[in-house]
Amino acid sequence: MTSVAHAKPAGGAHDAHHAPMSFWRKYIFSTDHKIIGIQFLFVSLFFLLVGGLLAMQIRWQLGFPGKPMPGGGILPESMVSGGVILPEYYIQLVTMHGTFMVFFAIMPLLVGVYANFLIPLKIGTHDMAFPRINMWSFWLALLAGLIMLAGFFVPDGAARCGWTMYAPCSARPDLSGATYSQQLWSISIVVLGLSSVMGSVNYITTIINHRAPGMTWFRMPLSVWALFITAILAVLALPVLQGAAIMLLFDQTIGTHFFDPGAGGQPLLWQHLFWFFGHPEVYILILPAMGMVSDIIANGSRKPIFGYHSMVFAIIGIAFLGWIVWGHHMFMSGMNPTLGSTFMVSTLLIAVPSAVKVFNWMGTMWRGNLRFHVPMLNAIGFVSMFTIGGLSGIFMAATPVDIPIHDTQFIVAHLHYVLFGGSLFALFAAIPYWYPKMFGRMMSERIGKLHFFLTFIFYNMTFFPMHIIGMGGQMRRIYDPTIYDFLKPQQPINEFISYSAFALFAVQILFAFNFLWSLKFGKKAPQNPWEDNGMEWSLPNPAPHGNWDKTPNVYRGPYEFSAPEAGDKDYLPQYVKLPTDRDPIPAPLSAGGH
């Protein structure tokens, strides 16, 4: 057994052959996938903050209904009167919190940032297949976000019918009480859909055609697999939402009747279209998180991922089942109950691939040599919290049990366990993990650990009790639960949740500080700080424009941790050529195309 020489790989540190670019071309209207990823990162972190601030106001109102909100005075009288949140502002808050978090924070954070940043780096190519379309995808996403944000500044305030925009509420200004912002919502979604489709076309094409020699399908890291399947979901789901949003926009503006029951329109049609998009969207929001967590857990455990193939098939299975479960959002909608039975079965089946993933992550940790760096801690947090979110989903999937908990805080708890406990913990793992690759510096481990433990505690204190008040029957999106006799006894829990939520928000300041401070003062990152196997670690930090000078070769799968050939090291990167390795045979057709 020869010991592996971890020689400096054939990375291209020099930009010499690239013409020097102006600041604008390099950092603003950049076509470099890494810069675009970083642009997405800053923009979506901003929208994450917006969504968080909205959530804090929701929590104030639910914890202390009718009491003047501290600092509420800075908001206009049409939203907050005498410090008291008005009911019409409250429904704007819940609507925009959901909209921003789903469409402008989590989705771009996972897909916009990490699909852009990781795909070319991890498959060993120089850039996306269509760099200019990629740039447009970012600018359209930003435009969509700004249009959505503009909703707060038009007369009557932001859109108000819930992030699902159920018609006819959303279609008729006299019923929602808002005109312009409802239209802005529709326009923003159409623009965002365009951005998403552009991005996804890019991701799919790049992954299919631009993999480096030797990067076979089953040598791709699970993060790339997940992003690939996610892109397929996005490319097929977003246009459906776009179509629906266009119909809604026409209902709102030129007086068409798609969702107007008075003229034969069908309110349930909106729900079917929305959830036909919406359920794949749920997986768009979790699959990339699963993929990245898989990479990080394998790294932290110093072990190959347990059951790589079944992990891939689980991703595909989840994505496939994701198309035939949309009706489970509509069990109580008046849809034919027989359809409900069908959707129940398909929904319950989704638990199977999800369970496989959880057990495989555990299998990966089993007999590993666990390193608890911040990404690993957050990844373990992801597994344990996603498990709760997944299991609580079974309650809703079983239709009779769904009856009392549908549209209650139980659902709110469930979706936050998946989206916060799942997606956001995965991001808290992914951001520090690839931070050195983006900025050349490490985020502080000490602050990171403190942030993880505090977030984990307050997060559970915030969202777990929501299950209980949901079981007690507290409906979603109600402004003041205390007017109901059956909800009054639960008010102390609501208060407790609010305090926890404020603490949770406060803890995120640690993360923001860590993120921003490390940009300038973080420890300089070594080339492969996590001793990982991915192709991206063959490059210097931050990775240069164009990535590699020469397309790299790939010699093995992505998870060869603790492989016997690795000798005294416990990792064996994909780019390292052992004496026993032969170079891959070049593809018969030039894969690049141009």
Binding site: G66, P76, E77, S78, S81, G82, V84, L86, P87, E88, I147, A150, F153, V154, P155, D156, G157, P173, D174, G177, Y180, Q183, L184, I187, T253, I254, Y479, D480
Partner: protein
Amino acid sequence: MKGRIFSVVGGMFLLTVCSKGDGTVQAAPPAAQPAVPTADVSAAGGTITGKVKFTGTAPRNPAIDMSEEAACKAKYKTTPTEENVVAGPANALANVFVYVKAGVPAGQTFTAPTTPVVLDQDGCRYHPHVLGIMVGQPLEILNTDPVLHNIKAIAKANRPFNVSQPTAGMKTTRTFAAPEVMINLECNVHGWMHAYAGVRPDPFFSVSKEDGSFTITGLPPGTYTIEAWHEKFGTQTATVTIAGTETKPANFTFAAH
């Protein structure tokens, strides 16, 4: 329409000002006679005065079951009723909006008073039930009840609005930009709550009192078409000619069907 949207997007920053202006609270004291605004018209003009009556039997106003709103119910000794037809003694008809429909010379403009017209929500009913207001004059909507009311203005010529007031003491001030007779105001939380606002460009309007009387003052000489509007009985018109500082009568009789 689309153009409007885009101009809205473009001017989003300017619009923060607009959205503030929509709901500014004004600390002005309520006017003594909210339904009859004082306009800066010389008292020297002519006056139209009269009585509104109806024939037949007035339909019974349905009783309101306020048992869900204990705070409102407590304000009444007897079961409150709706105010669809408020009749006074001798078949006098209250809550009739009487205004000069035509005859005011075109181009003549009148300054709206800054004193607001107050619409009070008290005991889960609107006070007053019918009001007149000038274009540009502030309408102060006040919630005296410790329960949620929303005020939905169903308007065509004006921009409709729908605002809510969850706690007692909340005030919202709105103005109307165009004349409109009548704007319906309703509360969707309490389905029985209806009020009507007549928005006029001039100060020549009045709402009949419990005894059916109304007075329009300050009219310059001319021939006027006067219209009386009642929520259940429809409208009636009369023509009155004013020659100087005289007082002319105009009586209306509605038929209760």
